[in-house]
């Protein structure tokens, strides 16, 4: 009856590659993206030209970064509607305070980060400690953040500093810097989630808060921190926008809320909470962006593009809800 499992005799510290199963979300998103690129090459080569890509990729990078933030919150079973306010606040702080003066840029960024941390802690406190519904708490916080946006800017746009524009809009080895930022943040989030104590516990709590609680983990603290991490990522996105766009408006964050949720869902994270997939989320941002580019190139009017996004979203959720049903069946057995 009792035998030693073969595992005990296997000294290799590396996982057996044959056992690595890629997450279904990763496979789905990657395959969809490859198919889309192939279709683009055949049908609308202009949408994958170097010029088109370098024009559109910075926006994909922004969606990727806010998507990562939204992912961390959704992973904990939350939902962050304060994203528009916090992105817009970072934008106006980074443009209005320096007012074109490079020397003032660093303090402005510092202030933006402080604001993000404060907003994150407030969100986390309301949701994690006061147990308010995440939607209500973040709607309220969004309004407060927009109040701050108007306090800083009065609602009028201002031109960005040359330095910020060089940092965010520049290129290294032909690659837009914003892409590098997005990739670096993706690697950072992946590393923290997979390789650190904090991240591993964060994932476990998202996957099953009740089990984590029973095992003695500090569930509320980690859930609170999710909102802080998210705000920091939104803040980075906002600062980058202030560099990419010459004269960013005070409502720059509004258009990012829906894509941020869409990429999280497309990447396979359940809106009920669970595991987050940072790499898939970033690929999904690229996919969503490329889908728009493709639609534009083949002459679909700009107006119809959101319909395509909605269909992609329904398709994505459909794929995962089938999986969910199957695992639910296994569970009941």
């Amino acid at each position: 009856m009792i035998d030693n499992s073969p595992l005990a005799n296997d000294p290799s510290p590396f996982p057996d590659l044959r056992q690595v199963r890629f997450a279904r979300g990763f496979v789905t998103v990657l395959m969809s993206t490859l198919v889309l690129l192939l279709v683009c090459l055949m049908v609308a080569p202009s949408s994958v030209s170097a010029g088109a890509l370098s024009g559109s990729l910075p926006f994909a990078a922004i969606i990727a970064i806010v998507g990562l933030g939204q992912m961390l919150v959704v992973q904990q079973g939350g939902f962050d509607l304060s994203l528009p306010g916090s992105v817009s606040l970072a934008v106006v702080i980074a443009t209005h305070l320096p007012s074109g003066n490079d020397a003032q840029l660093l303090p402005a960024i510092g202030l933006a980060v402080v604001c993000a941390i404060v907003a994150g802690i407030a969100n986390g406190f309301l949701v994690g400690v006061m147990r308010l519904n995440a939607i209500i708490a973040t709607i309220g916080m969004n309004a407060l953040l927009y109040g701050a946006v108007f306090a800083v800017s009065g609602g009028v746009p201002r031109i960005t500093t040359p330095l910020m524009s060089a940092i965010a809009g520049g290129k290294v080895a032909g690659i837009p810097n914003s892409i590098l930022f997005a990739v670096a943040l993706m690697l950072l989030v992946s590393f923290v989630l997979k390789k650190t104590v904090v991240g591993r516990r964060f994932e476990a709590i998202g996957a099953n808060p009740a089990a984590a609680h029973a095992a003695g983990l500090r569930v509320r603290l980690h859930q609170t921190m999710a909102y802080v991490y998210a705000q920091l990522l939104y803040c980075v996105a906002g600062i980058l926008i202030s560099g990419i766009t010459r004269e960013p408006t005070a409502f720059q964050g509004d258009s990012l809320l829906l894509p941020s949720v869409a990429v999280v869902v497309l990447a396979g994270t359940s809106l009920l909470g669970g595991r987050g997939y940072p790499i898939s989320t970033v690929i999904a941002a690229f996919f969503l962006n490329q889908l728009s580019q493709f639609a534009l190139a083949v002459g679909v009017p700009f107006s119809a593009q959101t319909i395509i996004q909605a269909l992609a979203l329904v398709f994505g959720i459909g794929v995962y809800s089938v999986r969910w049903r199957r695992s639910a069946r296994t569970r009941s057995n």
Partner: protein, 842 residues
Amino acid sequence: MSGIEPMTQISRVPLTDAKAVQPILRLSDITKEFSGVTALSDVSVDIFPGEVHAILGENGAGKSTMMNIISGVFGPTRGTLSFGEDVITAMTPEKAAAFGVAISYQHPAVLDDLSVLENLRVALPDRVFAGGDPRAIAAAMLEDVGLSVPLTARADSLTVAQKHLLEIAKALALHPRILILDEPTAALDQDATDMLFTRIRRVVAGGTAVIYITHRLAELRQIAHRVTVLRDGRVEGRGMVAEVSDDALLGMIVGRSLASAFPPKCAEVAPPVNFTVTGLSTRKVRDVAFSVGRGQIIGIAGVEGNGQSDLMRALAGLEGWQGDVRLNGTALTPAEVTAQAAYMPSDRHSEGIAAELTVRENATFSAVDRFAQAGIVSRRRELAEVRQIFGSLAVKTPGLEAGILSLSGGNQQKVVMARALLSQPGFILADEPTQGVDVGARFEIYRILREVSASGVPVIVNSSDAAELEGLCDVVVVFSRGRIAETLHGAEVTEDRIVAAAVKAHTHVASASAAQAKPRDGKARLRHLIQSDNATVIPLTAVIVALALYVFSQNGNYLSAFNISNILLLATALGFIALGQTVALLMGGIDLSVGPLSGFLVVVASFFINDGQAPQTIALGFVLMFGIAAVVGTINGCLIRFANFTPIAATLAMYIGLQGMSFVLRDGPDGYFNFAVMDFIGWKLGPIPLAFVVLVVIALVAERILRRNRAGWQLRAIGSDENSARRMGIRVDRSVVLAYVAVSLFTALGAVMLMAQIGVGDPQQGVSYTLASITAVVLGGTSLRGGRGTFIGTLMGAVLLTEVLNAVSFLGLSQMYQYLFQGALILAAALAYSTARSRAQA
């Protein structure tokens, strides 16, 4: 065997003695399998009218399965039920109800968010209340079971005992021919139990057949005529209660099982004590004391729900407790207890494993800090430790990176044990460690627990399987009603002694007046008002009036007829959409698509309702608006109920899609609306727009339906507790889809108002109403958890929100304040309501 048929002689011929009475219900050779696991096999039972038939057996013997088959919750795999002459193979809850079966569940199907009266009305058919004042009839039902609580009291203010009585009252009110009572006295005190027995004797005298499920032999003697004993899904014996001795019954409940495979017990008679608990009390447990010697395993026994799992959770630090806990002689603070404990939960799926994580991640998430340096996990150390512990626990897994669900139940449980051991705990709490575990793995788990205990780590095992405790434990503490009924040592630890101590205990719930409510007086009535869903109306009115007066004092034009009608017109559009949102939130959902839907409907209308169009065309425009809304609502509802979308995901996709459709139809503002139509919509009675009056009337009607109508109760029942709603026979899927259609139709009414406001088909308008509607509903006091809400509150929330936004400009404040007020208002309201609610519950 005095008067009882041993199982081996059971034949398929009629089971009764030559009695003239025909059975009212006959179960013939019923077998029920759940995906390969047999819960009942070849069970035949006859139920006679005018008798109490007790069903006896341990946890997992198949009693609940049998009840669920009789009440039609699921059909038998094989076998038939006969009601008198009717032979039935496929049973449904509707058929069972038609044959006069009523059931009182062990866990009452009582909806916390509804009042006592509403609980009765939603669960019982209308005919019960026909021919009289429903309140009087309901009051008589409560009187009947000796439950004295106000009909308007919310069910969450009831004690557990009161909920049980309410559940029993619902079953009795149907005047059933067959009444099933599943552990009805578990939470009742002596007086309530006596009253219930009197009541049962009365219905039996009237010819009703009562099926009485219990664990307690003492009760059996008091109330039952006939008894059937189940064990492991089989009929172990049956007979007349008067002719069977307690010992014979005990023998049938317990049976014999192989004890050979258990590891040897602790050899020392009095080993040094390393873990003691004295005077420990929690909410459900009183004054518990026991001690564990080095190398001993302590078992916790008792009939399920008598405080055993509460003790385990308290020692794991998951529940508050008072008392003294000592590990190796040192007293532990609650924080230290939490840190030292390693708890293996009984419900593996909900609390033990994280289904999305791999085997390795499941094993290490609590101990992961031990493998880390400066917060970064060393993969090498982690893998080495996991391999070592998996080796010693003999975990069989396809690989460390395999999904946890690919393992068998036994191996999943070993992973949970591995997690407990890796965290190097001070003591181990194993709650039902072998539930859902196959036989082979079961004995390995026993061996591991023995080894852990021998290594000096105290082990406490809670199990509902007395045979398991006999084989595994050195000391067994038997619980009854939250107290220790008996502590068994050494040779006393036998299955018979454990079961006897648990089922023979006579203790009843201590609180003498558990079923009595506080006296009714003015204060209680005020409390009920504060707890009611509409309580928010008073503070909202105060805030609305106070704000209006303040702004008026600053700017005399604020209360001009023009501005009042302006505010009310704006509030009407928001109000209609917010009424829709209230419906979604009441059933525990949400509809994010209302904003874009209202905008889209306006754009659609802008093609038909123009100057110079024929009246028919204009009428067609309105028909299209409501038709499209109904379609959108149906799609939302179907995605949520039939395609497994979460409400957020489904309505978010709809949000994006509708926004796109608006832009497809119009890429900029165009299509001016017909002036006559707009004039009509904006028609005023003095400063009050007619449309606002319509909104108020609709809100009042909706509120009345919500409180007084079956549709309203059903909606709130679903939001309150979907499973209980389903058990009551509510068609949840249909109701939810219809509710989403209602949400969209309310939104269409809002779109009509929006049309008059904007005056042109603008694809950019409307979107903001999603967030505004949620804000208005929250201000009104509807809970996002579902089940509780108010249309009147929502209406006032919409007025207040509009008033605040309007006031900002009258006070000469910048746009910043518009946002700040809005944010502060929603957060203040949410915080105030949530604290008020938690206070009310405390």
